[in-house]
């Protein structure tokens, strides 16, 4: 994340919004000054050292900064972690997506983790029971003092008929259904542990080690320092340097492995592989009790002092899946999008982060999946698909002879070249050769034999007949359903966006890089079209396609009048979407002897767009401050402890109306911020 001034302001405002003024001042000072120690900070903020230390302790607890203690001088320097501060804007979305994918208990756990910061497991469980055990009672007893119990309850109910709900939370108890556990008894400790185990295995929650508090760069530097001591003669010469590098690398690997130890352990106790649960469930026609040992939970029970925190990287992966599903829904259709959601859910079990750079610490397994890509089989996707989804709907029908099966089932082993903004034409030829293994096609895609012998009814639209015929016979309906789901996958693979790549016999993968790139272009195009109209969009697309263009050829290519082109181009250049390069043909640089090349610099445009996004978010939050100030008498009333939670009864009519207005404004402003964050995520984080 590039920290511009707007980004820094935004981070400080977000921290202020959630964690309070002191934390926000510390973060702002750290962002402005770079790494500094307590003394620098107190000078800069004119807070006394005691206050600075309190603020620092708070932000360390919430993972908002890095620190490093110099061993010789015993001076600790602190450094802001802007990405972590920015993540705060996604708190609501993360809670929502975790609630959908992992269940209500998981969502509450994540909520507690956000409240507590780094916390030992035993402590977390204790806290969870205290808070949410009481909350359930409060829902029944209509206790007044609780924060938004009605809200939570309503939301829980809303989740039940959500089509994208992966219904994992049906699977985590020992056959105890949620609805009864929710209301009657306080939450079972086992359930909390099991959910936590599931979250850790999925990577949503990670174990904390002290190395995580150093910024990755510092960590690498200190490891390098350690390693230099192993070479008393200094690191010189090619051989020694390579040895040294290998040593550093292995140390970093070791740290990565250590961090993911608990996760690995939990994953090995296969209980928490959601697909296994599902498969068992499907095979036996219900939850089997045979395997329902408490292995995952008990592993955690044995290590009550393990410290955990929320892993935002994985949360981003979940958010990306949600975004891609929405995208697919826009372009293809609802049922297909649900199939796609299932595919992404099964695919991303092993994907723990969206992006990585040279400093990211990964385990070997992670590295492997990152560089070779993950793939899933059709069966796995089907196991993740919610049984509620009617896969037979949403597909058109075409007769056999109209489908070129060789083309439809073509296997594309290699990922498409990432489309650069320009100047990559030369590579395309090679790309074609790589991807041209079109001899190979997946024969498993042909229709199941039993169906072909049937009465030919399947050329009719399947939605009408499959219910009656196949619901009774378990197995054949499964084959048929898989077949139909496969059609959805093929649609996704064939789409212009290439949501899915058919990468082997019955194997599927997603090229996130190219897909996100397309999303980026789509968003950028929308933005340009809104600001500069269709013609502006046409010009930028031409430039993106062709690279640098002389301003004489451009009007011809765009089929526009030259003055129009110039006006548009100047407008867009001023807004920072286009750049111009001058190439003089001789030494005296006269305008008529100079060539002007227009081009579209993607990276620079993105940076600018991002910065504008931050700026708008800052403005929204500042506007919120103004609105609060305007209604400060209402705010001061509603912050009273006896008013909170039952504003409607406590407040006078006109004050209550004003309060509702304020809530409405807040909601609008925040939703605007989170929509801007959607853009920022696409442009930067996915």
């Amino acid at each position: 994340m590039l920290v511009t001034r707007n980004a820094a302001d935004l981070c400080a405002l977000l921290v202020n919004e959630l964690y309070g003024q002191l934390a926000s001042r510390i973060i702002a000072a750290l962002l402005a000054r770079g790494r500094s120690n307590v003394r620098d900070l107190s000078l800069h903020t004119s807070l006394n050292p005691k206050q600075v230390r309190h603020g620092l302790a708070l932000v360390i607890q919430h993972n908002l900064i890095f620190y490093q203690t110099d061993r010789e001088t015993a001076v600790t320097t602190y450094e802001a972690n802007p990405q972590a501060a920015y993540h705060l804007v996604r708190v609501g979305k993360v809670l929502d997506v975790i609630g959908r994918n992992y269940g209500v208990t998981a969502r509450n756990l994540v909520n507690d983790l956000l409240m507590l910061g780094n916390v030992e497991i035993a402590e977390l469980v204790r806290y969870h029971r205290l808070k949410h055990g009481r909350k359930k009672a409060a829902v029944n007893g209509n206790d007044a003092n609780d924060h938004g119990p009605g809200l939570d309850h309503e939301l829980d109910n809303g989740n039940a008929d959500d089509p994208f709900d992966n219904d994992l939370h049906h699977a985590n108890g020992n056959g105890v259904t949620h609805s009864t556990a929710d209301n009657e008894t306080p939450i079972q400790v086992d359930e909390i542990y099991d959910t936590l185990a599931q979250l850790i295995a999925a990577g949503v929650v990670e174990t904390v080690s002290s190395t995580m508090f150093q910024s990755p760069q510092d960590l690498k530097a200190s490891i390098e320092q350690e390693c230099t001591q192993e070479f008393p003669n200094g690191v010189r010469g090619a051989k020694v340097i390579s040895e040294f590098d290998a040593m550093v690398k292995s140390q970093i690997k070791a740290i990565g492995a250590e961090r993911s130890m608990t996760k690995r352990k939990l994953q090995e106790s296969a209980m928490y592989e959601p697909s296994n649960i599902k498969r068992r469930k499907l095979a036996n026609g219900g939850m089997s009790n045979g395997f329902a040992g408490d292995s995952g939970g008990s592993i955690l029970r044995d290590e009550p002092n393990t410290i955990v925190r929320l892993n935002f990287d994985k949360c981003l992966v979940e958010l990306r899946n949600q975004k891609l599903t929405e995208h697919a829904e826009d372009f293809v259709g609802e049922t297909t999008a649900q199939v796609y959601a299932a595919l992404l859910a099964s695919l991303c079990k092993k994907v723990y982060r969206c992006q990585h750079d040279q400093h990211t610490i990964m385990t070997e397994e992670e590295e492997e999946t990152y560089f070779t890509g993950v793939r899933v089989t059709t069966e796995e996707v089907f196991d993740h698909l919610s049984p509620d989804v009617d896969v037979s709907s949403g597909i058109g029908t075409a007769s056999e002879e109209h489908i070129d099966i060789r083309f439809a089932e073509k296997i594309r082993k290699y990922p498409p070249q990432v489309q650069g903004s320009h100047l990559q034409e030369t590579l395309d030829a090679g790309d074609e050769i790589l991807g041209s293994d079109d001899e190979d096609y997946d024969a498993t895609g042909e229709r199941p034999k039993t169906q072909v012998n049937g009465n030919g009814g399947w050329t009719a639209h399947n939605g009408t007949k499959s219910d009656g015929d196949y619901s009774g016979e378990g197995h054949s309906s499964r084959i048929e359903q898989i077949y139909q789901m496969r059609q959805h996958l093929l649609i996704l693979a064939e789409a212009k966006q290439q949501f899915v790549r058919h990468c082997g016999h019955n194997e599927w993968t997603v090229d996130f890089g190219t897909l996100i790139q397309q999303l980026r272009y789509a968003e950028l195009d929308t933005m340009i079209e809104d600001n500069f109209g269709r013609q502006g969009l046409r010009l930028t697309r031409i430039l993106r396609e062709k690279g640098k263009l002389d301003d004489k050829t451009l009007p011809a290519m765009a089929l526009m009048r030259k003055p129009d082109v110039h006006v548009k181009m100047a407008e867009m250049e001023m807004a920072g979407f286009l750049e111009v390069q001058e190439v003089p043909r001789d030494n005296n640089r006269a305008a008529n002897r100079t060539m002007f090349f227009w081009f579209f610099d993607e990276a620079r445009t993105l940076r600018r767009v991002l910065d504008n996004g931050y700026k708008s978010m800052v403005r929204c939050l500042e506007r919120l401050e103004v609105e609060r100030y305007k209604k400060r008498h209402v705010v001061s009333l509603t912050e009273r402890k006896d008013v909170q939670g039952n504003e409607e009864q406590m407040l006078r009519g006109d004050v209550y109306n004003e309060y509702l207005e304020l809530v409405d404004i807040e909601k609008k402003l925040f939703s605007q911020v989170s929509r801007l964050d959607d853009l920022v995520s696409i442009f930067q984080d996915f």
């Binding site: 206050q51 015993a74 409240m115 924060h147 809200l151 009048r561 003055p563």
Partner: protein, 295 residues
Amino acid sequence: MSGRGGRGGRGGGRGGSRGKPAPPGMPGGDDPSLIVNDQPQETYPKSYKPPVAPHLTPSEERASAFFFSFRRAYHNTLLYTHRHINGEFLSAKDPVLPRHGQSQINARYGVKNRATVDPFLSVPMYSHRFVDDTRTLPKLRDARPWVKDLFPEELWATLDGKDTGGPRGGIQTKENTSRGTKRRLHGDDDDEQYGDGEDDEEILGWGRSQRRRENETEEERRARIEGAGKDADNEDGDTGDADEEDEEEMELEDDEYDSAEDEDGGDYNAEAYFDNGDDDDFGDDDGVGESAMDF
């Protein structure tokens, strides 16, 4: 292709009645047919129709509801520090901070000390029990057991609520720790940490074991500090101890008072100003200066 575009361009040139030929140096300035309208544009559109944002989708609705409920829950904890702006700077026109230099930013944040208390509102009233005191320091001590290993050593005393102020006040000294355990025996009840005393034997057991571990690490750490950091610590020396003793006793005596005034101590701190500016050479003065200021 290019021919067609060229014709279009010339046509435009003839058609455009207003404007002048392009100034030299502009891209395409060599083309005589290019006409540039150099009249200033209208800076503001006459009819401005801002686009209206579409309604929230259900998932957006849920996300913002979660955000708000999380925010409210956090604001009710002891760790939240309230927004506290200097009254002089608040105005309906611009309640947002101006950002012209650090000193101006700092000046706008409110200071909470005896001088800034509103004498009419600071008398205890019944309604105060419903209102959170404006908190300028998070109450770390009462919040929960901290995992000290995750924090740098200079913050450990701060976490225990025994920060004595001054540049090195966050470092745990022997007196700090020993007295700390004493106090803990008297006062702290493990179950009161979240403000509600629902007890739970099973988990409480873990709390104790964890306490033991914490003590162990403190001892280890003390040994290490004595071994390694002698040169850093001995400046605080003997003179500092007596002061700290006094201070600690005072603190024990009137805890309520302390929470209102000592912890939220003023931003302006003349003694600390010099202490901070200089090196630690004047360490002897720290204790004196601090205690003189605070009491």
